[in-house]
């Protein structure tokens, strides 16, 4: 595998499970007193982020460093993009410095694919517009598998919230579906995709209908920066109808898990006391993110034979 641009690049269930199995080895590394191996010594990983990010960028950089690779960070706000440099010129400039992998985040769907077509380095999609965020899909699948695995066949997952604007939802649906989960999308009609043709999901407009029967509730952030129009009357109304409040959480089965990719809007899509409750996997998702990204970088840069 040269690039990871979409969950589909992993080649379906077998490829996804292989990556999750590999992640186990890196979880062990991250728990060591010295959480570092020299596997990617001499490699350089660049994070090229055209959108804001806390956890994804830090997670990739931590992963690269724990594999012994060097990291470079490119953030738009302090770069020549401010002077009008194009994405192509930026990629060529970075590549000329001698690098092995680029992690790209961009507001345009397909940006990572374009970068991959321009460079000899490996490209990891760190989020492209509404399209995909494959490492988030992998880390959510990994986290879920640790609690409900080894098989996720028949595991009932509700993905709640701003599905339409969410690349996390798209990658999660791909990953969870490939692993055999039974997926229900929940949200107001205005926050569901224009067309659900080809989505292997059921849809519900009412969170209360699905609460009692799901094994996992995965909440998405209400992306205020992507909502141009008023797609729901108010944040207060959203929280009232689709937020996982403490009162709703009490109606979940005792072993139902709660996930959120972060950053959370506490009090909107998830109540603070739910986010901090024992059923919440939020911080575990972040911790597993480093190990998953180590597995991805290792697979792209370390595991193969000679590069031709």
């Amino acid at each position: 595998m040269k690039h990871l641009l979409s969950i589909d690049d992993l080649g379906g269930r077998a490829g996804i499970e292989e990556m999750l199995d590999l992640t186990d080895s890196f979880v062990e590394v991250t728990r060591r007193e010295i959480p570092k191996v020299p596997a990617l010594r001499g490699k350089t990983v660049v994070s090229l982020f055209y959108e804001d990010s806390t956890r994804t960028r830090l997670s990739f950089e931590t992963a690269a460093k724990r594999l012994g690779a060097d990291t470079m960070t490119f953030s738009v706000s302090s770069s020549s993009v401010k002077k009008g440099e194009s994405l192509l010129d930026t990629v060529q400039t970075i590549e000329a410095m001698g690098i092995d992998a680029i992690v790209v985040r961009h507001s345009a769907a397909g940006a990572a694919h374009r970068v991959a077509s321009w460079t000899a380095a490996s490209v990891v999609n760190g989020g492209d517009g509404r399209r995909e965020h494959p490492t988030q899909g992998l880390l959510d699948a990994f986290t879920l598998r640790r609690h409900r695995g080894p098989s996720l066949d028949g595991c009932r997952v509700a993905i709640v919230g701003d599905i339409r604007n969410s690349r996390v939802a798209r990658s999660n649906v791909r990953a969870f579906h490939a692993l055999g989960c039974d997926i229900t999308l929940v949200g107001p009609p205005t926050l569901l995709p224009e067309s659900l043709v080809g989505w292997p999901v059921r849809v519900s407009y009412d969170l209360d209908d699905v609460l009692g029967e799901v094994d996992v509730v995965s909440l998405l952030r209400i992306q205020r920066e992507r909502i141009a129009d008023a797609l729901f009357p108010s944040l207060r109304e959203y929280a009232h109808r689709w937020g996982l409040t403490a009162e709703r959480a009490a109606r979940l089965k005792p072993d139902t898990l709660v996930m959120h990719p972060g950053p959370m809007n506490r009090g909107i899509e998830i109540a603070a006391e739910v986010a901090d409750s024992p059923r919440s996997l939020v911080t575990e998702q972040v911790a597993n993110g480093v190990a998953v990204r180590m597995a991805v970088l290792w697979t792209l840069l370390g595991s193969g034979g000679p590069v031709v």
Binding site: V29, P38, L67, G304, G305
Partner: protein, 209 residues
């Protein structure tokens, strides 16, 4: 992988470019393999003046199984349960990027600080796996000493490494493959065999006893 250093390490018969590998010689059957391991277990205890402070750390895949067998053996005659561990060396190999490398399982090693660690593997060949294992092990703590136990030493060392406990010194050619079968890993009966290309040529490797 039977001989982790060998270029071809898959199930027999092996296709190695020039043709399929053929059976050459049986080295161990199940009873002789058992006796060799029993002897090594006794040697480990004797050399270290008892089992206290010894930790057996197997290298994936078959070294892990061998380490467990040694622990069972030591417990049977000393009445002491020796701690065991499993070590994956993939991230410490010196041929990353030269050939496909994947971790074979998660490293699980008990506290090794001030203990005598006996690394356990099935076949000692170039010594590069053991070099990687030393790198991996020493990041987990500072053992008092590290020793090496192998079922078969097939020669052809490329690094200054030797084993402290050897089941059998086995002269081989570089092109040959030493196949180790362990029932708990591979199913069937235990055994060690030499397989090689149909045409033989080149000198046998030297083995220092």
């Amino acid at each position: 992988m039977h001989a982790p250093d060998a270029p071809a390490t898959t199930d027999a018969p092996i296709d190695s470019g020039g043709g399929r590998f053929v059976f050459r010689a049986g080295v161990f059957d199940a009873p002789t393999l058992r006796r060799a391991l029993t002897r090594i277990a006794h040697e480990i205890v004797e050399r270290n003046h008892g089992p206290d402070g010894v930790v057996l750390v197997g290298l994936y895949t078959r070294g892990v199984a061998l380490a467990h067998r040694l622990a069972v053996s030591i417990e049977s005659f000393e009445g002491v349960s020796v701690p065991t561990g499993a070590l994956d060396v993939a991230f410490y190999r010196d041929d990353i990027g030269l050939r496909p490398v994947q971790p074979l399982g998660p490293t699980e090693v008990p506290d090794i600080t001030d203990r005598t660690v006996v690394l356990v593997d099935d076949v000692l060949f170039t010594g590069r796996t053991v070099r990687s294992a030393l790198g991996a092990l020493l990041e987990l703590g500072r053992p008092r000493a590290v020793q090496l136990a192998v079922l078969v030493d097939r020669g052809h060392r490329e690094l200054p490494i030797r084993a402290d406990y050897v089941g059998k010194n086995l002269p081989t050619k570089v092109a040959e493959d030493v196949q180790v079968r362990l029932s708990e890993v591979d199913g069937g009966d235990d055994g060690v065999e030499i397989w090689g290309p149909p045409e033989t040529g080149g000198p046998r490797g030297e083995v220092v006893a």
